[in-house]
Symmetry: C2
Subunit: 206 residues, 2 copies
């Protein structure tokens, strides 16, 4: 039960430090929003987890909604760095799985946003299209079967990659293992990579 329990600055640290405070709030908010979703999250819970007075959320971010938007914006901004076009697709997908596993709360946050009706479009359409274009290149290069629309394949892969995030209960029931554990992530990444390889190579490994 100790998610970074480090309130009341260690002796020698600054007593007042807006950057540190803001960072703590953001971190706590990601955890809370990710775990429960926007509506179910109490700003007092965020404040408690951050070890800080709840008023500071208004002070620094303009309230619950402002804080949420800030997080979404940051995520959205820094989102476009993964996915190296030079790696084999199987590896790209596997590393995507590992990334989401390391930042479960962040990933779940994105899914919450997708799921809720009436949330402002949160992803980056430009980025998505770019990824699809790369899939199309792979297809043209013969790395993928020609009868599959790259856009839809992209969707399939994204959904599949986020399975341990999105369907943890189903995952547990199916496999009997803990979908939040790092080992699970590794195994799942490996298995998904195999699936992709079967697609790429028509059954051949390598």
């Amino acid at each position: 039960m100790d998610h970074q329990t480090r309130r009341s600055p260690a002796p020698g640290e600054r007593k007042r430090d807006p950057e540190r405070t803001k960072a703590r709030i953001v971190e706590a908010a990601i955890a809370e929003f990710g775990a429960k979703g926007y509506a179910a999250t109490r700003i007092s819970d965020i404040a408690d987890r951050a070890g800080v007075n709840k008023q500071l959320i208004s002070y620094y971010f303009g309230g619950k909604e402002g804080l949420y938007n800030e997080i979404a914006r940051a995520w959205h901004q820094r989102g476009g760095e993964m996915m190296d076009p030079d790696q084999p697709l199987a590896d790209v997908v596997a590393s995507f799985v590992m990334t989401t596993a390391e930042q479960r709360a962040q990933g779940k946050l994105m899914v919450w946003a997708n799921l809720a009706d009436g949330t402002p479009e949160s992803g980056d359409a430009e980025f998505m299209r770019g990824q699809v274009a790369r899939l199309a290149e792979r297809q043209a290069a013969g790395e993928l079967p020609p009868d599959i629309d790259p856009a839809f394949l992209m969707l399939v892969l994204m959904a599949a990659a986020s399975a341990p995030l999105v369907l943890p209960q189903v995952a547990r029931q199916i496999t009997g293992e803990d979908p939040e554990s790092p080992e699970f992530a590794r195994r799942y990444a490996d298995q998904l990579a195999r699936v992709v390889r079967h697609l790429s190579g028509g059954g051949a490994h390598g």
Copy 2:
């Protein structure tokens, strides 16, 4: 904007009809819970949509939580009927996609439940295992590659099949089409079936 707008019983209908009322409430609740998730749903919205006084939700179901549990229970109970083991896997998956497309709210409800920390396990583990066992049979019969764990493949397929439900915004950004439309469901089902066929036949169709 008319989602079954039929309050105030048509002339000739019974004025009081507990079954009808309960059914309306359940139907409205599925829609509301599915759209916004449990926490963000207002019981007054459910009542309004059902064309009924909000107190009846307490009267018949013991409040918001009772209503939710009732729905989850019913879903869980009637869940295990799909998935014919005699069809080819590609067709099974495709029809699963179509089913979720027809009952978006129901499906989203299940995903909400999966996503939220601290929701009681909602799926039927027994059923899941059964499905995995069938996948294993298919694998033994040579219909699936031997180097993939059937349990994980099951998870991949379920996640992929629910992509239009779970990631509608991503779907829209990637494809430029409306992921809620029936045409989209058809196309997606078709494409996913192709992917599965590539897995099954190592690239061969039929």
